[in-house]
């Protein structure tokens, strides 16, 4: 008895299946689940791979920075989770050799370092560098070239680090996890951790930064991170790629957001398919349900019978969809094979589970409202065929669909901002434009007396039932919007990246250029045929107070602010706003000194407002300046960026050096030797390797985005076609009647084409407006892209809509005109 409805539902389902009633619905659901699983899997694997590659910039998957060595219990926990571990200690130390002094950044590394990525070293000639995952042997040190020039040393010589003498065995040209702003570093001295104790530098109270590096399985890392977080004290923090390497972090974030957007797009498209096919299914089941009611089935029984049917159908189709999605993802990846790294992250079972959940969620959101309508079927319909149940309240229909989309969006993007932006933009546009369309449909009736018969038939069909037409137009619009938005965002995101990182993006930084060398350096660059960016003056200083309050009381743990106040910043001054920067609040100065412009992220993190007074410690003296403006900075551009820019003359009292960046192709690396020889005091920082890696990541992300887009478009086309099919019943019936009454095939074909093309045109116009609005919202709130008006959308979308829907409708109704009216009637 308990399973009565279940078994009945099962039998009814089997009967419906056999008679072909379910095929369109099942196909819609299959598309939804297969595409969301495929994108979920593909996105997840690409994201994991990208994060893995980005991890090279941390030299590990997870880094904990601290002022002390980590407790043994933490390391034991990591070991228990089978995580690999290495650690480094970083501190400043002054080297004295040959009567020369040099402040260096010493880094002691343990065996196993780097856990991700590699080091590059040379034995002198910069063109002969080698990759290595080794570290300096005990008793030796690897150093930046500048250490040799500044201290008049050669490879093979000895230096004293603290009390320990070490042999300079190689030049270090690249280390993956070089921290801080790239162009304000002290020259590196890398030593083996085994020599650290002997240096005698590690005394209580000495200023040492400890970094503990971990690598391993993603799940284990997650567990470790979760376990670790609550135990961190204020001096400890988990280093994040997004903060530690903003230029890569930003690109990753945007790519992840795009993949998220694409997933939503596909789910939305599939949702439309499900809503339309469920609607058709419902309409075809009014009679059956009325008969159930007539035979004594109660409302709750009706709901249970159909509810079970949909659950069973949902579960079976979703499972099949997951399987199909899995294979699609494999297929896409095999297409991408040559372009992706060999060791692609493996697919996670969780992504499959999400695909499944997505299917059921979409089914619930889009199929439940039309299904609820069945429950209200009046049994009287068996006597009066025209009696149709009232449609479910618009609140339920749209509310449920919106809710399920919102939940899915939030889950995919993990981004409340993007979710609300998209939902609000879409919703308001739909409401306003839906009303306009309704008005247009009404107005189109005025045209009817003045047009030919086929035009009249075609347009009449649309304007006679404006509500039905609008819901169809909306459905097609949503699909078109989804397709247009994913296409446009992708195109402009890629263009933006390309523009931001042109082939000749600066790949070298020159720093510590003294004022007296500035002209000579510029001349030499010109002789070598190298064009550089602007030269920025640099003064090193530390932010100590905001409005007299110690900054350490203002920064929250693990924030950008906490990171920025714990080290010296590169302070600069400028008369004009740097090209890449944008004023967010306040205004640029016109000459008054002791004004400062603060980077937005840091300002937010430390709650700095306009007119606040900031205090800096520069070489032991305190400098005060008033906040004049807050700036946004493009961290993902490879040009010098600053947290603090002062008004000219503010920093005149302090010694400064200059920095610049320039592009040097690989085959002209020898130019560096000339520069270093002529200006031994200058530090050249080669970021070409980093840049290359960054560009490689962007290329992979780009590729992933291209394929995901293709997939979204394919899903869109399929659904448009299916949606047209599911709206045909009423039209077919009328067409058959017209044929019986003697309408010619030609007339019918023409009026069908006109009707569907007009439907597509309206949908396209609506879609263009919604897409434009959505793109604006996305650009300004989510992707940080510059918005421009897209006239091409307004031209292309209505045209594409008219062609696609017109062709799909024309194709789908061809059987009506070709088959005998009798057989068509019987099949209805």
């Amino acid at each position: 008895m308990r399973y009565r409805y279940f078994t009945l539902a099962l039998r009814l389902l089997a009967r419906d299946w056999r008679s072909g009633e379910l095929s369109i619905l099942a196909a819609g659901l299959l598309i939804a689940v297969a595409s969301s699983t495929a994108i979920s899997l593909l996105g997840d694997r690409l994201r994991q791979t990208m994060v893995g590659q980005a991890a090279e910039f941390l030299a590990a998957d997870l880094v904990v920075s601290s002022h002390d060595a980590l407790p043994d219990a933490w390391l034991a926990r990591a070991q228990q989770l089978s995580l690999r571990h290495a650690n480094t200690e970083e501190f400043s130390s002054v080297l004295v050799e040959n009567d020369e002094l040099l402040l260096t950044g010493v880094k002691a590394v343990s065996s196993g370092y780097p856990l991700r990525g590699y080091l590059r070293t040379t034995s002198g000639d910069i063109t002969e560098e080698v990759k290595t995952v080794d570290i300096p042997a005990p008793g030796t040190a690897w150093v930046d070239g500048r250490v040799l020039s500044a201290l008049n040393l050669k490879l093979g010589a000895e230096i004293a680090v603290g009390e320990q003498r070490l042999c300079l065995s190689r030049l270090l040209t690249y280390e993956p996890d070089r921290r801080g702003d790239l162009y304000s570093l002290s020259p590196r001295v890398m030593i083996n951790q085994a020599d650290l104790a002997a240096t005698g530098i590690l005394q209580p109270g000495s200023h040492v930064h400890y970094y503990d590096l971990f690598a391993g399985d993603e799940a284990a890392l997650k567990t470790f991170k979760r376990w670790l977080k609550p135990q961190l004290n204020p001096g400890q923090r988990i280093v994040d790629i997004h903060e530690d390497r903003p230029e890569i972090g930003h690109a990753l974030t945007r790519a992840e957001r795009y993949l998220g957007l694409a997933s939503i797009v596909v789910v939305l498209i599939a949702g439309v398919a499900i809503a339309m096919s469920t609607r058709r299914y419902t309409e075809r089941h009014f009679d059956v349900t009325a008969m159930f009611r007539c035979l004594g089935a109660q409302q709750s029984s009706i709901l249970r019978i159909y509810g079970w049917q949909f659950c069973i159908l949902g579960a079976l189709t979703s499972l099949a969809g997951c399987l199909v999605g899995w294979f699609i993802q494999l297929g896409l990846l095999s297409l991408l094979k040559g372009l992706l790294p060999q060791d692609l992250a493996s697919a996670s079972g969780l992504a499959v589970a999400f695909g499944l959940a997505t299917g059921l969620m979409t089914l619930l959101g889009f199929a439940l409202p039309p299904l609820l309508r069945l429950r209200r079927t009046s049994p009287l319909k068996v006597l009066r065929r025209d009696l149709e149940p009232l449609p479910s309240s618009a609140w339920i229909v749209y509310g449920l669909a919106m809710l399920s989309i919102a939940v899915l969006m939030w889950r995919y993007t993990d981004d409340l901002k993007m979710t609300t932006t998209l939902l609000l933009a879409g919703l308001s546009a739909t409401l306003v434009l839906g009303s306009i369309t309704w008005l247009l449909l009404k107005l189109s009736r005025l045209l009817l007396p003045h047009v030919g018969l086929s035009w009249r038939f075609g347009l009449q069909n649309l304007s006679r039932q404006p509500q039905t037409s609008i819901s169809q137009i909306l459905a097609f619009s949503v699909t078109l919007v989804a397709m247009v938005v994913s296409l446009v965002v992708r195109t402009e995101l890629l263009a933006d990246w390309k523009q931001q990182l042109p082939a000749d993006a600066p790949n070298h930084f020159a720093l510590n250029i003294f004022g007296k060398d500035l002209d000579g350096f510029k001349r030499l660059l010109a002789q070598e045929g190298v064009t550089s960016s602007a030269f920025y003056p640099i003064v090193r200083g530390r932010l100590i107070a905001v409005n007299g309050v110690d900054v350490h009381q203002l920064a929250s743990k693990e924030s950008q602010g906490e990171e920025a106040i714990s080290r010296d910043l590169s302070l600069t001054w400028s008369a004009s706003l740097p090209l890449d920067n944008k004023l967010v609040r306040g205004s640029w100065w016109t000459g008054e000194p002791f004004q400062v412009s603060v980077e937005q992220g840091l300002a937010d993190s430390l709650h700095i407002k306009l007119k606040d007074e900031l205090a800096f410690n520069i070489s032991g003296q305190t400098l005060r300046a008033t906040v004049r403006s807050i700036r946004s900075v493009r961290w993902d551009a490879m040009t010098p960026n600053f947290y603090m820019i002062f008004s000219p003359a503010t920093l005149d009292a302090y010694p400064s050096t200059y920095l610049t960046s320039f592009y040097l192709p690989a085959q002209r690396k020898t130019a560096l030797n000339h520069l270093v020889k002529a200006f031994p005091g200058i530090t050249i920082l080669e970021v070409d390797v980093l840049l290359e890696q960054f560009q490689r990541i962007l290329k992979q992300v780009t590729l992933a985005i291209e394929y995901v887009l293709l997939f979204a478009l394919a899903a869109g086309f399929t659904v448009l076609f299916a949606a047209v099919r599911s709206s045909l019943d009423a039209r077919v019936y009328e067409d058959v009647l017209l044929r019986i009454l003697g309408a010619s095939r030609h007339l019918l074909r023409r009026s069908q084409l006109i009707e569907f093309a007009a439907l597509g045109l309206f949908a396209g116009l609506l879609a263009a407006a919604i897409a434009e609005l959505t793109i604006w919202a996305l650009y300004s709130r989510v992707f940080a892209l510059a918005y421009r008006f897209h006239w091409e959308i307004w031209l292309m979308t209505p045209a594409i809509g008219a062609v696609l829907v017109g062709v799909a409708g024309f194709w789908n109704t061809r059987s009506v005109v070709n088959a005998s009216p009798q057989s068509t009637l019987q099949n209805l």
Partner: protein, 235 residues
């Protein structure tokens, strides 16, 4: 409502009692009265014809008797239970226990085979062996060779025979038939009527037959003639 209380009330009372029944509908042109002050009762086992011209309110009356619709005023008791006391679900339950239907347009489910159509009412009340019972009844109406056919593969007469089998398969106390021969040629119609009366006798069912065919109506024990929504005569 429990089954026991229903049984008790049923024994002594008429299967249908109608008092002062009125039905009005609101249209764009004002209120339209379809039935006015209709009174009658039907005893268990009776056969009653409801006749009248098109638009006289026959089908509305039938819908009200079955609890498919609610009257504007007046009382209908089905098996002693006032329909006004029940909500739509309560009326549905009552139908599942007492009422069988035959319609002019057959109302078979197109995606169900003949046998599945007959099984359906049994499945809805979770009766035992729906397949066997449906098969037996389909054999009784002469469709043993059509069990697995879909409605569109059957002739009009065959479809109505399936509908008869579906109506009788739950052994209802009351059978409501709405112009059962309206969509059939006269010869097939006669065959169907014969079958209807035979089954009615065999299963000892109360029959209420709506028809405008005087000859058919005269086969019933009683006739209620409706004209413009009121009972003109009871024969």
């Amino acid at each position: 409502m429990t089954e026991d209380s229903l049984m008790k009330r049923r024994a002594e009372e008429p299967i249908i009692a109608v008092e002062n029944l009125c039905k009005q509908v609101t249209t764009s042109e004002g209120t339209l009265t379809i039935l006015t002050s209709v009174n009658f009762s039907i005893k268990p086992g009776e056969t009653v014809a409801v006749t009248g011209a098109s638009g006289s309110g026959k089908s509305t009356l039938l819908g009200l008797l079955a609890g498919l619709d609610v009257p504007t005023s007046g009382i209908i008791r089905l098996a002693g239970v006032s329909l006004a006391e029940l909500d739509e679900d309560g009326r549905a339950y009552l139908r599942s226990q007492y009422v069988g239907f035959v319609f002019q347009s057959f109302q078979l489910l197109p995606s169900f085979t003949a046998q599945e159509n007959v099984m359906l009412p049994l499945e809805l009340i979770a009766a035992a062996d729906p397949g066997l019972k449906a098969r037996a009844l389909l054999e009784r109406v002469g469709l043993e060779h059509r069990l697995q056919h879909y409605p569109r593969q059957l002739s009009g007469g065959e479809q109505q025979r399936v509908a008869l089998a579906r109506a009788f398969v739950t052994l209802p106390k009351l059978l409501l038939a709405d112009e059962p021969t309206g969509n059939l040629d006269s010869k097939t119609g006669r065959t169907i009527i014969e079958l209807l009366f035979e089954l009615n006798q065999e299963k000892n069912t109360t029959l209420v037959l709506v028809t405008h065919d005087e000859a058919l109506a005269s086969r019933c024990e009683r006739m209620i003639r409706l004209e413009a929504g009121t009972i003109q005569e009871e024969v």
